[in-house]
Structures are given as C-alpha cells and as structure tokens.
Amino acid sequence: MSTTDSRPTLPSPRGSLSERILQALRTDPGGLVTDAAAVALAEPEDAALTLWVLQELSYRGFQDVPETAEWEPPVLAVRRHLQVDLEARLRSRWPGHQVPESDFAEALLQFIQDDDGPSVASYVHTHATEEQVLELLRWRSIYHLKEADPSTWTLPRLTRGPKAALAELQYDEYGAGRPDRLHAHLFAEAMAALGLSTRPGAYLDECPLEVLEMNNAMSLFGLDGRLRGASMGHLAAFEVTSSVPSGHLVRGLRRLGLAEEIVEYYAEHVIADSVHDQLATRLICAVLAEDEPEQAEDIFFGAFTCLDQEARCARTLLGRWGVAA
C-alpha cells in the first residue's frame, strides 16, 4: 500500500452481508462463498452498501482490496444478485410513460421539467446554515468526486450519433483536455478549500441509504449495456435539472461567504449545463430513441429514476434539517 495512493479504503460494514463480503474482499475475494439467500435477506442499507462497494471495483477500487477482485466469479455473482434486486426496485417505482410519437426531445424536456420534487438548492439559497451546506457537499461528494464517470460506461454501447454527442458532453465534463478543469477536480479543490477531505468515498459512512441508492442506480445504468437508454435518460434529467438549482446554490454559498472555489464550481455548472442539457436531450436521447426504438421507454425510466432519487435524497436531507418538504 503506497502512501501516495489516492484511493479510499473500504468503508464500514452496515450489517452481516457487508461484513462478510468486505472481509472476503480484503483477504481472499476468489474464495468468497456465494449465498443467494443471505443476499436476498440483507437489510436495504446493508445491501446498498455492499453493492456500492462491488460496483466501485469497476472504477478505481480500494487500497485494501486486490485489483483482481473485480472479475472474480463469486464476487460478480453477489454483485449480480444485488443489481437485479436494485433494478426490480427501481422499476417497481416507475409508473410508466407513453413514448411520444413525434418530437422526442421536447417531450422528454417537458417530462423532466414537470417534475416538482423538493428543492434543496432553493433552501440553500435563502436559509441553510454553513453546517447544513457542508453536510450537503459531503453527501454529494460521493458522486462529484467521480463526476461524469458512470455515463462514460455507456459510450461504447451507443450508435454513431448519440456516441459522438456523449463524447462531446463528456469531453467538457473532463476538462476539454485540461486536467485542472475536470469537473471532479474542480469539486475536489472546492472540498479542500472548505477544509473537507478530497479522498473519494471519505464520507461514505455518514451517507444514508438514499445517497447509496442514487449512486448505485447511476453505476448500474452505466455498467449494464442493456440499460443504455436508462443511463442516457438519467443523464438528461440530471443535466436539465442542474443549471437553475446551481444558480440558487451560487447565491446561497455567496450569502454564507463560503470559499470562492465552491461558488465557482456551481457557477461553472450554470453555464456548462445550459449546453449539456441540450446535447443530452436533443443529440443523445432523441437520436438514441430513433436509432433504437426499443430503448425509448427506458430513456424515460432513467429520467424518472434520476428525479425520484434526487427527491428521496432531498426529503431525507431537509427532514434532517427540520424543514418540511
């Protein structure tokens, strides 16, 4: 284990399933004994934490897990059980949506903009304390320290038009060739300026089920090529609902006098996501639906899941802060 390794170590277990699997990952991943019943019986938070750890093996992994663990069959078997469970749960929440016969991009935009979930950003704009904002940022850091990565998994699964458009969008997320402009890096710099840890997953132990599930859903949609429509629909909803709330955050962060780096991070998203939302709806999702009509409904499913997960996190956070949502 090198001292310059920027990867995290495994988080704390949250029940008997994660306890057993984390232990096996540290010592002998290939020797893990799969027990489908134990996986099925795990408490939601225990299962979500386990899936988060297993999917993380496909990103940068952990200092204390051998890199061979990602592809060990018994480890993959547990991951697969948990992914199937998660997808079934997400689909059970999805009320369905008629696939539009014309103007897919407008219909998708409308569907996303009709969402009226609670807004943490509006609360930050006018009321939140510094302590509350730091909590929000610690929860968001699970995603933002690897911002854009989950959608990148979808790139090789796409047809020509959506592939070119996603590559263009991601190029901007990844700093357009400049390492110091990577969005994940801008977020890390802001975390450091606020005195917070920049190690990915550093705050995982304090994140509730809703944050784990939100991250797990994005990784699932990205990693499973069958779910490419959901992955791109999720991306579209994320981008369409980013710019205006980022503007609220900019004003809230200024009101509190927080570090300029975090103000800059959100100010960058006001402008960048006014481009990304157009690319995601018009050049990625609408063309994907045309090229692969059987993916069209899943685009809406992915968009719904993004909005639903965001609303669940917002209700949990605002509830903790004693704000009615």
């Binding site: 903009q113 901007d172 205006v244 503007g247 996501d273 006014s274 481009v275 018009r282």
Partner: protein
C-alpha cells in the same frame, strides 16, 4: 433578438434549440451584436437567444423559467 446575426471566427457549426439558446460548436470566440468578442473555451457553447440571461452572451437557462410565449421560437 440576440444572436440572430452570428459572427463566427472560424468554421463553426450552429444549432438552434427551440425555446432556448443557439449552440455553437468548434469556435474559439463569439462576437456579440455590440461587436465585442468573447473567448470560447468549451467544445460547444450556448448563446442566449431570450435576452434574459444573467451571464450574457451565454445562456444560463433563464429561458426555462419564462412563460412559453416569451421563449425564443
């Protein structure tokens, strides 16, 4: 209307988004109607067409909060 008369400094491409901005791809600067050149650092930029952006000449998604009949067509 802003950005009706786009001046591109090189062989950029454009795309009009109904109700929203004008996207410009592959330009290194954008000259607004007052003749002021703005440096472009992204692969694609969104130029405001509604006139209400707080970050002109760029779109900041203010158009999303306009009633549909006030959005650019």
């Amino acid at each position: 209307m802003i950005a009706d008369d786009v001046t591109l400094d090189d062989s950029g491409e454009t795309m009009v988004c109904p109700g929203g901005p004008l996207l410009l791809r592959g330009v290194s600067s954008y000259t607004d109607e007052a003749g002021i050149a703005h440096r472009v650092e992204r692969p694609v930029v969104a130029v405001c067409r509604c006139g209400y952006s707080g970050s002109l000449p760029w779109c900041d998604s203010t158009h999303k909060r306009l009633p549909p009949d006030r959005r650019p067509s």
